[in-house]
Amino acid sequence: VSNVDDLDAMLERAAPEPVGAGSPAARSAWELAADVGARRPRWGRRWGILTAVAGALVLAGGATAVAAPALFDWSWGSADTLAVQEFPVGDDAAGRMCVMALWAEADPGASADLNAAVEKAQAFLHQQDWSALDSDTANLWVRQRQALIADGSATPPLLASLTAAQVRDELADAGLIVPGVSVATRIDCGDGAAE
């Protein structure tokens, strides 16, 4: 019994030091909560439009990529330069087709040079033919997706993250991922919500 008590006590003591409720960081966290709530874009309708467009394209012929830059504004700092590609990432548990948006972005305060790098990455995203993304069965990410699907453990976020990793590798191979440029993704499963 004493060992059990010891373990509990040791685990409690080992907890990383929390941010105190009266600290400047706590106040900033509250302000952040208020800021995000006050400045949030009204996503639902835009996302619904995107889903309808992307879903129609998928149904129309298995297209795997389409640009829809005007529909996204949740990356507020770079909304006017945002470029997006969408990829279907399989069906979720409810049987809906999920769509992943993937785009390149720069850190806030990026220099002109970095913005140029982002534009190059975005152009690459648009110009590549992504329709054969699943056909390279030697690709690590493709194999992992196939394994997840085969054993029934695939989820839209997992499939999307593996797809994003594959695309990110291609960007990296093309020399387009430089410090300060990142690739971000969002997933939508057809109900106006996203991850």
Binding site: R13, P16, L32, A33, G37, W43, G192, E195
Partner: protein, 168 residues
């Protein structure tokens, strides 16, 4: 989305801001990342507002599930830097983690870190974030009975490893 739901989510975020921040502070090496992950969690929650549970307890759990998903994405390499988090980032940087962590705590953290991921998260949720086993199961998205089994295995492993180091 109703105004009532928006008001509830606003209150929920204010109520949980520090708890959620600490959830990330306990899991990521860089406090910069914690600031961005908190901002991302709020953003994702606003996007999911249509799923906000009506029950307050369930709504709280939902926020931690959202935080966990955001953290998982971060672990997979999906990173975003939010301008809104700039001030928090600065405040976290000026509130450096205390230097005086005991050797025992470092050993315990190392033992926790060495657990399989599904056990590690349960231990953190229960001992560091203050959840019950049932609540931790909800956050992780598994049955409580499954959580209890994993948690007991985690405890046994920790006992064994820490005993080998003569800490328990």
């Amino acid at each position: 989305v109703s105004r009532e739901a928006e008001a509830r989510l606003t209150r929920l975020h204010e109520l949980l801001a520090v708890d959620l921040l600490n959830y990330f502070v306990r899991r990521v090496a860089s406090r910069d990342d914690a600031a961005d992950l908190l901002a991302e969690t709020f953003l994702v929650a606003w996007r999911h507002i249509g799923r906000l549970p009506r029950d307050d307890r369930a709504a709280r759990m939902w926020m931690f599930v959202t935080a966990r998903n955001v953290h998982n994405n971060h672990q997979r390499g999906i990173r975003r830097r939010h301008q809104l988090a700039d001030r928090l980032r600065l405040d976290l940087a000026s509130t450096a983690a205390p230097a005086g962590v005991s050797a025992e705590s470092l050993d315990v953290r190392a033992a926790v870190d060495a657990l399989p991921e599904d056990q590690r998260e349960l231990v953190r949720l229960i001992h560091w974030d203050g959840f019950t086993v049932g609540e931790a199961a909800d956050v992780v998205g598994i049955r409580e009975s499954t959580a209890r089994g994993r948690y007991q295995r985690a405890r046994a492993t920790l006992q064994s490893r820490l005993a080998a180091g003569r800490l328990v």
